[in-house]
Symmetry: C2
DNA sequence: CGCCATGTTGACTGACGTCAAGGAAAGTGG
DNA sequence: CCACTTTCCTTGACGTCAGTCAACATGGCG
């Protein structure tokens, strides 16, 4: 276990998808041979699951070529969303959950007074849209922070399959459970940690989540604005900016606008009160 | 809809239980006549479901006498817990979720440094224990704030039944979804509201939840300490105390130690930024 | 009755918010 | 490609809300 406290990674989400994908194709009788494909960039909206770079995260549990081939027929992929496009909006009817394929999203809700509250950030491999399950309507909006694409999983189909496959149901319960424990860790962060600890925890979270996706844990780009970060962490833009500058002065980070390089990851984790084992 | 923002009530949890209870008994072939029973106090640990005061919350959807009668065989009820007893502890194996029958609980986690963080309060009719689903181990402890009793629902049985009953599965997904949206509303509260707004929101939350249970929305007892409240809301004991005194000076509350009387519920909701419709 | 946990209130402090100014980056139109 | 505007980011000065420390009150429990 890498992270004991602080923001939690969404590692297990993909385990869920093996099951979905496998299940959605298990009734197929066709058995055609497919040859190995060179892995293409997953940002390509037309790339098949079999050729997707994320497939080793997404499909490690026995899923045969035929099943993968069928996959593309079932998971719905639209054209990519541009920066600023909404995946869904608050009070839209809930119809599906989405796996982020490429790019990143933020979810947010707007209060009666018109004040925005950022609820979360979602990176490739993570599931967005669970907020609509309870009431059948989304209670937050999801917006692309950059050019992005998703795999759409219609929720009624998912429920049908879960009836057929106990292990899929079990897995989706766990995914939702994970969202609950993640939120509760976030509650702890907000209710007892300083501005510096919050910013550090968020950076460690991005680092960990990048690492899981086989990307650099120490060098990445923040796709969201300082305002979004502050809003999410319950602090002001100015405090975010000052905190990041402070971390840079301590030689923990090198920052160039949205480009972040973590020089001292151990030190950062110490500040974030995250323990690596 | 009564509450648009702020802490959310757990109203729908009971709707779930009709289904569980109905399902758990639907295979029964016995059909014995039972006579109507006078509703007894639900704090009585040996009282049957048919005689439980909460039954009109718990079982409004067609559940016949026979089914109710069978119910007692399946839902596990232990002896009541005393104040300070643990329902489960952090890192216990997860085996069941619990419906609070009487009394109240708090859940909390302890950080590496030994600092306690209160994660929630649970009143009769609410479900506690969902935090263990994702990892099969509880990541928080649940402790009785007063003499209390619960109905224990073994989770593996619940999963089995959910396979048989699509509507049960659907409902449990919704319950978990509700927990997620509740936590996200709490995140908003912690990240953008003042101490006064937080305390007001918590009091409104208790008021609403009491009202659902057909108890007074304006006069109740806080079973948790000021320290617990402060910890939960991310403020200190002193601030909680000062805030409550301030609300009393404004003639919004009359407070006598743990006994709270809300004089101006509309005013309190205004402070809490909760809109009643 | 006395002890210890819990709650209240006051004085002081400090972390973070607010206000303000200036600069860098990104989008826009010619 | 370059002006132009707009948005975003950074930094400084100052104010304030809530934390800290301390003293005392209250109440539950042995």
């Amino acid at each position: 276990m890498v992270v004991s406290k602080g923001l939690q990674s969404c590692h297990s989400t993909w385990c869920f998808f093996h099951l979905v994908f496998k299940a959605m194709n298990s009734d197929s009788e066709k058995s055609q041979l497919i040859k190995p494909v060179e892995k293409k960039c997953h940002t390509n909206p037309v790339v098949s699951c079999s050729a997707c770079r994320l497939s080793d995260l997404c499909l490690p549990i026995a899923l045969n070529g035929d099943e993968i081939n069928q996959l593309d027929q079932i998971v719905q992929r639209g054209r990519p969303l541009e920066k600023g496009d909404h995946l869904y909006r608050e009070s839209d009817k809930f119809t599906a959950v989405y796996a982020v394929r490429s790019g990143s999203f933020k979810t947010y809700a707007v209060s009666d007074e018109g004040v925005e509250q950022v609820a979360g950030f979602y990176l490739p491999g993570e599931i967005v849209g669970l907020d609509g399950i309870s009431s059948q309507f989304h209670c937050s909006s999801a917006i692309a922070l950059e050019r992005a694409s998703v795999c759409e999983i219609p929720f009624d189909r998912l429920e049908d399959l879960s009836i057929q496959l106990p292990s899929l149901q079990h897995h989706f319960f766990r995914i939702m459970g994970k969202e609950i424990t993640k939120d509760q860790q976030m509650l702890t962060l907000l209710s007892s940690n300083s501005a510096e600890e919050r910013v550090a925890a968020l950076l460690v979270s991005f680092s960990t989540r990048n690492h899981i996706r086989h990307m650099s844990a120490t060098h990445f780009r923040l796709t969201m604005s300082r305002a979004d970060i502050g809003n999410y962490l319950g602090i002001t833009v100015e405090t975010v900016s000052r905190t990041i500058s402070k971390l840079q002065n301590q030689s923990i980070l090198v920052v160039n606008n949205k480009d972040i390089e973590i020089i001292d990851l151990v030190g950062l984790k110490k500040i974030a009160k995250v323990r690596s084992v």
